[in-house]
């Protein structure tokens, strides 16, 4: 029997333990047994991947971009959640603000989430630039309340929304997952409205180095993709992890973040 693949993941909530114990159990009956190791932040996890301590890292999009940078593009993405292929950043303001689009932010204050959050900080600035807004055109209020976890906890995004409520900012940028978590604009009609939605982009993926042979990776990916939302044994794990189906990665969905990291001079390391 070959030794189990070791998957790294960042423990941004205690439920990560439940999720990975469930996934490990699912893989337990072969042919691609696995175990997992948890890290407190993505920097530590990518270091461990590069050091060969883990075979596969469950990375955010920023961790992926940084791994690509550090490996000269040698790493590869194995799979991701269906929800990772259609991630979005949402720009919201108080209802009735009539910002009308990103241009409406000129001269206004935009609250951003943690600086290492692709969805709530890096990509929003990129979108502003794309809309022709320079660094002096929008006053950025940066809220770094969950640095290291790449915005996974959503805390900085909630703080950004609070800043809008408290009139410390005119608008906030957040990931679609946080927007969903607060019930979009349906639970609190009259509180927030969306004035711009980004194109979809790719978020997390399972990242491996070339040292992981296809022979070992392929059965693992095949078994992962076979998890079935309609199977009552699999469903709770998939629900907790926020997906219906594991899919092959959508690589062109990372282009915008590569561009953003380059133009903002974000370092490939931590």
């Amino acid at each position: 029997m070959s030794k189990p693949l070791i998957i790294g993941s960042v423990a941004y909530t205690p439920n990560v333990v439940t999720i990975w114990e469930g996934i490990r159990e699912y893989f337990g009956d072969g042919p691609a047994e696995m175990d997992f190791v948890l890290y407190s932040n993505y920097g530590r996890q990518v270091d461990a991947l590069l050091a060969g301590e883990i075979d596969i890292a469950w990375n955010t999009n920023l961790a992926w971009v940084r791994t690509v940078a550090q490996t000269g593009g040698e790493c590869r993405a194995l799979a991701q959640r269906d929800t990772d292929t259609v991630f979005q950043t949402i720009f919201v303001a108080r209802t009735g603000s009539a910002l009308g689009g990103l241009e409406g932010l000129k001269g206004r204050r935009l609250a951003l989430g943690s600086k290492d959050s692709a969805q709530a900080a890096i990509l929003p600035v990129h979108y502003l630039h794309e809309a022709g807004l320079g660094d002096d055109d929008v006053e950025l209020l940066r809220i770094n309340s969950d640095v290291g976890k790449h915005g996974d906890t959503g805390r900085s995004e909630l703080d950004a929304l609070r800043a809008v409520m408290d009139d410390k900012a005119d608008a906030a940028a957040l990931g679609i997952n946080t927007w969903e978590a607060i019930g979009r604009d349906e639970l609190m009609p009259g509180a927030f409205e969306v004035f711009w939605e980004s194109p979809t982009y790719s978020h997390c993926n399972f990242t491996a180095l070339p040292t992981l042979s296809d022979e070992r990776a392929a059965p693992w990916v095949e078994k992962l993709l076979a998890m079935d939302f309609d199977n009552p044994a699999h469903r709770p794990i998939l629900e907790m992890e926020g997906l219906r189906q594991w899919v092959l990665p959508k690589m062109d969905g990372y282009a915008s973040l590569f561009d953003a990291v380059k133009e903002q001079g974000i370092s490939p390391r931590w």
């Binding site: 909530t13 205690p14 439920n15 333990v17 439940t18 906890t153 959503g154 805390r155 909630l158 929304l161 609070r162 409520m165 946080t178 978590a181 607060i182 019930g183 639970l187 609190m188 009259g190 509180a191 927030f192 629900e239 907790m240």
Partner: protein, 332 residues
């Protein structure tokens, strides 16, 4: 207008929680807030445990299945207990409903029993259990039993003292295929049994068991024991084996501190899995408490389905609270 900050608080406070753990979220007290928390929980797959004094307790993830730990026949509403009457020819010193020859009859009557049996079928009940007092004191017991056995498999509890003459004739008219007799017997020799249940009652109970068996009835024996006697059950079981009582029909339970019993297990609504119980006075949580208002569910016997739904609702609420409490005070 509800406060959007409340939703932000909910997301932030539940996010770091392990599944199943709970957190208290203060509300500003308006009904809108409660509606908002409810809507958010539904949408986000979390559960609202309760709102007390303006503080919502929210559990991460769905409510655990309140029936998960129960055997299928323990699910409330599966069995229905019916107290036919409260008077009794005996006056046992541990009787949980204070029955005796002096106790008022408080009979349900054939009409209500028939109606209950009919509604029980529709409400999904799968077994009826008739008890008292001593049911054989009722002159029309055979009618009551016939109404029950026509509807569902039925168990009839008796002390078996009275299986003679006219009452034996009543027994013989009952449906052997649908009726089990459950007879009380507390020990393999007279001494202990008689001490609690009266002189010569052991001898007559054993004779009653034999009579019922001889007439082709399946007999279950139920013993009520002080908790300390649970360590010496083998001689009793051997005696019951010899009497021809199948092991599955040997029911041994602990004495409850109810009725005239001055010791025994303390049983509260919170600690008892409900066994819905109907008496002439109302619907009770459990047969051991059928004479105690602390476990009265409602005075309305009908519609039976409503009473069952109310017991289930309370049970789910108790479970949710207990689970939440377990999360509040984790073992160190």
């Amino acid at each position: 207008m509800v406060s959007p900050l409340l939703v932000l608080d909910l997301v932030e406070r539940t996010g770091p929680l392990p599944l199943g753990a709970t957190v208290a979220v203060p509300l500003d007290g308006s009904d809108d807030d409660v509606a908002l928390v409810t809507a958010w929980c539904t949408r986000s797959g979390n559960s609202l445990v309760e709102v007390i004094d303006g503080v919502a307790t929210v559990r991460r993830g769905p409510s655990p299945d309140p029936y998960a730990d129960l055997d299928p026949d323990q699910i409330p509403g599966t069995r229905l207990w019916i107290y036919t009457n409260f008077d009794c020819n005996l006056a046992c010193d541990y009787c949980c409903v204070r029955s005796s020859p002096q106790a008022e009859r408080r009979a349900l009557g054939a009409d209500r029993v028939r109606k209950l049996a009919g509604e029980a079928v529709d409400a999904g009940v799968s077994e009826l259990i008739l008890t008292g007092g001593e049911p054989f004191l009722l002159p029309d017991l055979d009618d009551l039993v016939a109404a029950c056995t026509a509807a569902l498999p039925t168990t009839l509890l008796t002390n078996a003292m009275l299986l003679r003459g006219r009452r034996l004739e009543m027994l013989r008219r009952m449906d052997r295929d649908r009726l089990v007799l459950q007879i009380s017997l507390d020990s393999p020799t007279p001494e202990l049994h008689d001490r609690h249940r009266g002189a010569r009652s052991w001898e007559r109970a054993v004779a009653g068991i034999r009579t019922a068996q001889a007439d082709g009835f399946r007999v279950r024996v139920a013993a009520t024991l002080e908790p300390e006697r649970f360590s010496e059950l083998e001689p009793f079981k051997a005696f019951l084996d010899d009497l021809g009582i199948a092991r599955d029909d040997q029911v041994i339970r602990a004495l409850a501190h109810r009725g005239v019993a001055d010791t025994g297990l303390e049983l509260t609504v919170e600690s008892l899995i409900p066994e819905i119980t109907i008496t002439a006075d109302g619907v009770y949580w459990h047969p051991v408490s059928a004479d105690h208002d602390d476990q009265l569910v409602t005075r309305e016997l009908f519609p039976l389905a409503d009473a069952i739904a109310e017991v289930k609702r309370r049970f789910v609420a108790h479970r949710a609270k207990a689970d939440a409490a377990a999360q509040w005070f984790p073992c160190a």
